[in-house]
Symmetry: C2
Subunit: 254 residues, 2 copies
Amino acid sequence: MSHNAEKIWTAALLVIGDEILSGRTHDRNIAQVASWLQVQGIRLSEVRVVPDVIGRIADAVNALRGQYDYLFTTGGIGPTHDDITVDAVAEALGVPVIIDPEARAILEEYYQTRGGLNDARLRMARVPEGADLIPNTMSGAPGIKIGNIHLMAGVPAITAQMLASLTGTLEGGAPLLSETVGGWIKESEVADILREVEKAHSGCQIGSYPFFREGRTGANFVIRSTDRDELSSAVDTLCEALGEMGFDFTPGGI
Amino acid sequence: MSHNAEKIWTAALLVIGDEILSGRTHDRNIAQVASWLQVQGIRLSEVRVVPDVIGRIADAVNALRGQYDYLFTTGGIGPTHDDITVDAVAEALGVPVIIDPEARAILEEYYQTRGGLNDARLRMARVPEGADLIPNTMSGAPGIKIGNIHLMAGVPAITAQMLASLTGTLEGGAPLLSETVGGWIKESEVADILREVEKAHSGCQIGSYPFFREGRTGANFVIRSTDRDELSSAVDTLCEALGEMGFDFTPGGI
């Protein structure tokens, strides 16, 4: 993996799932993919969640794959009738769906001691023509890589395996570093400080994330930069200013 | 709220937040808004997450507000420099940002015993011209409703208050009903049944959601329909078929 400090590498995530849009399942893949991408030096720049409808998935794939360096999808690559991501991506790319011989062999081996390869399980060997596989050490059925698109499982534990398989294989840039300072501070009392510290450190962004816990108001201030020195300097300036105003704060956040 | 069984009312959710895209914060608003919309008879049809950048927010607002009956946003309406949702929505709609007199009065009262209304707090009275307010009984600063767009807080507990204020005020259709049947069943062993039951009940969709727990494989099958009788019939057919194949299953899911 080469690091190019100039270019910012970007990615989009497309979450495929009626179960997310119905509120039945709380998505856990957005945070998982986002955190993983940070380490790869790739910035997650957009997420979309769309229903299990081929046209909707295909439209989103075409909108996102051209706009960002990488596109990741989660969900819809299993054995049942509602697993249609492969068909949608093939439609988006204008290529046929084929049975991948390597995926078929992986599934044959995996299911040899698990009841055999039936028609439903064989669906998981279907790929858009021209694809490579993403190994899945947990449950056999591989993820799929075609062009800049990476099709991954919806079950978070399996997605994690696929991300592990991809680690270090994608070109990225300088990782975005972050430091957090938190306290039982109302963000509306320090809004000026936050703005001024951000302005004084051009490579830094500061986000303010308020919360309510134990009946009290607090906030975490997250400073982000690709430059470690600028980041340290901004954190120092912010802590100094909070101290001068008489606030207690906790490096690392609360 | 009138119910029209013919029309399917749709909504999109736009989550504004660098903190979600960085993986730092696990989003909890998608599931919360999705579940609330189900009860209102409105179908969540798309979610997008975009960074705290005015142009990106404005573009997404314009893409989504025309495509769906309702648009909800979460995040970016607080007192700090990174709270720019109001500016972005005003830009999208081509209207100026003004200080809303009612919002100002609410904030003056709320902060009377909390240190007074400073410039940062007054930012939370800014609205796109022509907006109405969404009451926030928790922390003063109101949400904002303009046209079919509803701007809500990013802190989930405050979002919940704003959704409660909106309950029953939006026109919706027949709520989408769902029933779940689950078991320690490999979905790849019942894929044919699921497809057949869905085909035999035209108003129903069946989703299959596998999981791994305690080292075992299971799945929940979620049957959805706006027609209660069709739904019951599909659930009965599915349970009968699973029983005939010798599977143990649990109505309500596991």
